[in-house]
Symmetry: C2
């Protein structure tokens, strides 16, 4: 492998590439918690986290908030339901929709993982420095909003 310059664009400066690598790196350690300790997939954890954070809502709402495909959400909801972490209740204003909400057990799991998440996030922010972490948050939000 030669590391001399080649013509063309520079991969190391390509933001989507850097973002993906950083996201992967940041998610890797944390994934072990929800996966190994609770048997959850990333999507399942996300659905759980959204319900835990924002309270009861429909699958459609979760899609809108988290920008996750509805079929992914659908299957994650089914899995969480099977696992007893979430309850589904028919909406009384829309016969198609279901109101999703965490069960007590779901709340418990969310609280436990949430504590780990807080620690994990804190450690990461400390490594980056408070200022950089704050700036990062702002820029990431801008990127997300621009989709």
């Amino acid at each position: 492998m030669t590391d001399q310059d080649r013509p063309g664009f520079d991969l190391d400066e390509f933001l989507p590439y850097l973002l993906n690598q950083a996201a992967e790196a940041a998610s890797l350690g944390f994934q072990e918690i929800y996966r190994d300790r609770y048997g959850l997939t990333r999507t399942q954890w996300r659905v759980l986290a959204n319900l835990g954070r924002f309270g009861a809502m429909t699958a459609r709402d979760i899609c809108a908030i988290s920008h996750v495909e509805k079929t992914k959400v659908s299957r994650a909801v089914a899995a969480l339901d099977r696992g007893g972490l979430l309850r589904r209740r028919p909406s009384d204003t829309d016969g198609r929709a279901e109101i999703l909400d965490l069960t007590d057990r779901g709340q418990g799991v969310f609280a436990e993982i949430g504590l780990c998440a807080r620690d994990y996030d804190l450690a990461l922010r400390q490594r980056l420095g408070a200022g950089a972490a704050g700036d990062l948050t702002r820029v990431l939000r801008a990127i997300i909003a621009a989709r």
Copy 2:
């Protein structure tokens, strides 16, 4: 859905979550180029980009540089080979390893996608502002390095 505060950690501030969403958002538009126009998967594009940027190397090197699982790289290499974008040549110093290098066609595809990538990246940086983009790059590198 209620958006009142709930106890526990705040999902909106969780860096791995923000990073994943931002990475997804940033990759989405660009993905259409290598996927729809060239039939490449993300991993295939990454392998191609690394070979295009850094020149001939082994699959193992690509794994080390890009932090991608070796089985993913293996399959991407096989696909690129089938597509005639890449050549494999046995290493003369290690009977297990193969030296990978882009064919002329592979170079061409890399150059074409590279131009689009450059534009895409430039547009993204302009939206964020030059200063913010530079800081972002630095912080992302720090996160990636800390894995």
